[in-house]
């Protein structure tokens, strides 16, 4: 960067450097200083946060280590999920998990993981937190990765050989990823004379 002999202390330089230092100090103070008003409650420990911090972000943040394959997923699905979602995921009675591609603009749109969901990470997040309905938060990371792999494979989204883990799952491209738009309402309002 600067060599000492080129460094000339013009007033504008001094002011600029001082300004940068002062603003850095100010923002550092703002970021680190935590001044609670009421002093009610207590700091949470890392262990407490870890026990409940189960959400998985679209970029994969929060995904645990471990992995799962489509083959393993077929077993998990048959043993734990099929009783409610049907033998192959399309029979129900509970939500249909597979199919519905290209139906969203038709008279009978079928919204499934394959046709509608924008992020594959949501599937991991939801299955771990809420499924199976009768025993939520009971599956191991291996079981969740595996059954996610099976559902995505059956929807034609990943290859049968794909191994899902914290790196490969967020990279999965969902067919309807671009299908969501922000709220544009009020869209319907007729002013009345």
């Amino acid at each position: 960067m600067f060599t000492s002999n080129k460094w000339t202390l013009t007033p504008i330089w001094v002011m600029t450097v001082m300004f940068i230092c002062v603003s850095a100090l100010v923002s550092a103070a703002a970021e680190s200083e935590h001044t609670p008003t009421y002093n009610i409650g207590r700091p949470a420990s890392q262990a407490e946060i870890h026990a409940w911090n189960i959400d998985i972000a679209p970029n994969g943040e929060g995904l645990p280590s471990g992995q799962g394959t489509v083959i393993e997923g077929a077993t998990v699905y048959t043993n734990i999920c099929a009783s409610c979602h049907g033998l192959t995921g399309i029979e129900g009675p509970m939500p249909i998990l597979i199919g519905g591609r290209d139906t969203l603009t038709t008279n009978q749109p079928l919204k499934t993981v394959g046709s509608y969901w924008p992020y594959a990470t949501t599937l991991y997040d939801y299955i771990y937190r809420a499924m199976p309905l009768n025993a939520p938060q009971s599956l191991s990371p291996q079981q969740v990765y595996a059954v996610v792999a099976w559902i995505l494979f059956r929807n034609g989204i990943i290859e049968e050989s794909t191994i899902l883990n914290a790196q490969t799952l967020p990279a999965v491209h969902m067919p309807n990823q671009k299908g969501f738009v922000r709220d544009t309402r009020p869209d319907v309002s007729r002013m009345v004379p």
């Binding site: 409650g41 911090n53 972000a57 738009v181 309402r185």
Partner: protein, 426 residues
Amino acid sequence: MNNNDAPLAENPSSHSESSDNPETDSPLNRRTFLLTASSTLAVTAAHMLTPTSAATASSPSDPARTPGMEASAYGTRATFEHAQRLTTSTRSLTPLQQLSGIITPSALHFERHHNGVPLIDPQKHRLLVHGLVHQPMIFTVEELKRFPAESRLAFIECSGNSGKEWNGPKGRTVQETHGLTSTSEWTGVSLATILHEAGIRSEAKWMLAEGSDAAALTRSIPLDAGLEQALLCYAQNGEPLRPEQGYPLRLLLPGWEGNTCVKWLRRLKLMTSPAMTREETSKYTDLMPDGTARQFTFDMEAKSVITFPSGGQQLEKPGFVEIRGLAWTGRGRITHVDVSTDGGQSWQAAALQQPVLPMCHTRFRLAWEWNGQATILQSRCHDETGYVQPTLADLIAIRGTHSYYHNNAIQSWKITEDGKVHNVHI
């Protein structure tokens, strides 16, 4: 008033002598006697012997001549009142047609849950605040109650309310068509107070709110909106929240779709972007005819419905009818409500019952003379943003019929010549 003018329909003495009088030997009389005897033992025995339903069997011919019940520790409604929520395993609907005023009794507030109502010991419940905060914090419910308390009256409406009505009239009664909305007084601490206690980092733009139910229901809330208006509530209509309403702690975002008001709240995490949970992607998104879906459709737009006369009810005969209903908007206050008694050809201004509060049910009324002819009743509300409640046709023209959520269309009730009231689409 002169006693002789009193409409004494029955002679009490002859009544009490009559052998087939159901009251003489009624469980109620026995119970009343035992209660007035004030013996703890007798009270207990009476309660054991007399199921409460038996008390409805009869009432004294003149209650002024029979000592009444003693004080009770926790009240129940009159045994003659039977308004009920209409339930399935995952929701229950408020009987709007049987309610007066704007407050929904806590026991009749609608429910919606995704894997049952959890049983939570408030002593063990904790709220964790973490993510992009300076100091992750844990609060007990008792601690949250020590912060400055705020109350507000607010409706909560499930965005799936009237969701079955897009493709023709489905619900028979207003409870079935509109029963997923209710109003309570909610008390708690403002979200801003709690987040400032943990210290908000400048990168934080969204907040994840998570319940401790068996669905661990989770929604992402834009932080700005949350800081402006959200309450962390522990009380409803003066007492701790009902279990169905999130006991011991729920989020309230006045005017937003009910699903964002996460119940059984146990975790708030500040983030840079939304978590894209299942309840904000697969569900609670509005599919449009072009195949795109609107996401984060938070506001509940202005909506109104006539609750009397409404579907399934019966007008006995032509004559005076006070048309009554409710209007509400997630964008502030209702400014006026029009009522049509001729299927939308002409409209009259209804009277608004005070108080008219923002993000709250507003009661409206209109005096009407029913001439015995078949006709169609409608209500149409306006809010302070200038928004006017649309017709179903207006909504469908833009959104099609597959968006399910956020159906705030004008409701039509057809009165037939026999005085029966029916849900119709015109």
